[in-house]
Symmetry: C2
Subunit: 197 residues, 2 copies
Amino acid sequence: MIFFKNIDEKKPFARIEDLYKEALIAKQRNIEAICISSYSKKNGVNSRFVNLKIVDDDKFFFFTNYESEKAYEFNENNQISAVLYWNQTNTQIRMKSHIIKTSNEFNQNYFMKRTKEKNALAISSKQSKKIDSFQSVKKNFFDVMQSDDLTICPEYWGGYCFSPFYIEFWTGDKYRLNRREVFELCEGKWKKYFLQP
Amino acid sequence: MIFFKNIDEKKPFARIEDLYKEALIAKQRNIEAICISSYSKKNGVNSRFVNLKIVDDDKFFFFTNYESEKAYEFNENNQISAVLYWNQTNTQIRMKSHIIKTSNEFNQNYFMKRTKEKNALAISSKQSKKIDSFQSVKKNFFDVMQSDDLTICPEYWGGYCFSPFYIEFWTGDKYRLNRREVFELCEGKWKKYFLQP
């Protein structure tokens, strides 16, 4: 689930919320999955799905480990792409943005409201670091589940926030006559145009 | 549908075919959708879903317009990421690769076997170029449907081929104890290791 709030009907984010509701009604699985891509000299172009948790006005939020490879990549180059694809309604939303970390206070507040299982995983995992086996991953998790205070957010865990400056709404159609509608932020105003399929 | 052929049981591509079959049995919608990301100085990090059509041994194929923005981006920087995500089975396959165009002969042969509707769209669309309305897109398509020989592949349309050097199999699990298994090509050999979730 994605939590939408403070959505302005005059901005393209209202359209994202409408399409989200359509996908929800169509019983889209893993509706919060969003493909985030980044670029660094060491890792090149790199992509992964994360869970989009909140859309607040024009700001999108997800949470991760600040020592992961993606955090390293965002630090080197803060321009990302973000793509939602809801196959149940054949809707793709392509976005480009810059990305920043959320504050410690924001992270701590958010962390406290999560389940202890999610927090145990956040605390126990050195995300994207190599490990000898999947059994070791499980052992670390169950050790932390038993021993730690699971409400204190570790410094290496928190949110990222991005506000898209480019949004393309892509809707699949018959004969591949796909509808592609772009909103681009130019000097503070959203400019709209169509692209050929 | 993705067409697999010449798959070597000793390479990680056999695993991709197995996971594909599982997703097919689970009735995954738009199973061929793959998120391709690229980087160029002008456009930054940019991503879009395309249809993965063929996996032949270690080579992956999709088709597009050679004058599209992504073609421009591949030309500037031929390193891409490619991600399959089958939400029906909660499987993600993250890949990194270099990408090249397929030959004119390969493109012409492939084009001849396609439906006239697909070819009319390929001929009529100046992909990713701006257009005044979606109505104009439809008009161009129906004009081409009536007038042209729809078996001759235009020079601006064809395939791209990539052979991944990095493949991560991600399987979602309870408590987010996701299983992450990596295969990386090092001096011609596939090295395998696990990543923390």
